[in-house]
Symmetry: C2
Subunit: 144 residues, 2 copies
Amino acid sequence: MFSKACEYGIRASIFIALNSFEGRRVSPKEIAAEIDSPQAFTAKILQALVRHNVIQSVKGAYGGFEIDKNRIKDIKLSDIVDAIDGDNIYKGCGLGLKACDEDRPCPMHDKFKVVREELKTMLESTNLEDLALDIKEGDTFLRR
Amino acid sequence: MFSKACEYGIRASIFIALNSFEGRRVSPKEIAAEIDSPQAFTAKILQALVRHNVIQSVKGAYGGFEIDKNRIKDIKLSDIVDAIDGDNIYKGCGLGLKACDEDRPCPMHDKFKVVREELKTMLESTNLEDLALDIKEGDTFLRR
DNA sequence: TTTAATTCGGATAATTTTATCCTATTTTAT
DNA sequence: ATAAAATAGGATAAAATTATCCGAATTAAA
């Protein structure tokens, strides 16, 4: 469904949010260890998230990645997916037809639209705070 | 969402179904021209669909690809997706965690489950006959 | 039985995605 | 200032996906 990069990006963002609650910055090394992803590749993804303004980085000693504590609840899964995979997954045609739209729909259009809308709604209505709090409560897990 | 191979596979299957209604076999060349896909790559995908028993091929002169006319309505989109992309897309964890399940869910699990189920239901309840008939009626389109 | 029209399948290439490595740059503490 | 601890970013490699090419095998018709 999502690319590996996007899966890592979402997992990393949740872990960063979790730490930012406590005012703690985290390194790519820590992140990759926690979410079980390749470190250097994860670092690239973090850079992309910084460029897209989803997370922040602080360079130099005592630096690391963080998310503005007051904005954690404003970051939606769709922001992360947009930054890494783009919006084609929840906006494009299921059969890959560029010209597919309401006026000239592909054979899957009407039925796929329902799924796509469900995905879009889900991504746009789920924020990092909710996801991180579930983990904190011990209701959900980032690994193993 | 789906791989290119899977998109081509679905589009090709619909076109074959459309022709099998009329008892006409079609070649990879014809198929690729109609669904606007690379011919040799499409041929490989057709072979995979034959191996998975989704479509049939008849070798030699006057051969081509076809679908048993009486079975067109029994072939579900899920059969095609399964054959080409596997079932991970509508059965696996949205964050790519192998260990994610109801007992130990990932943070996205509950919300993603709804989307995944919607996709699963859609793929399993949509058959080639319905899709081909919509095209025949001029309500939907395979290209342009 | 030969020929022509086909699918099948192996080899290879191109592109994209995933992953690694190394150096430069930035920043804080000493 | 200097050293140490970080992120940034370029170069490269590995793996997966997408795509092409060509000869072998199969089949029906002439």
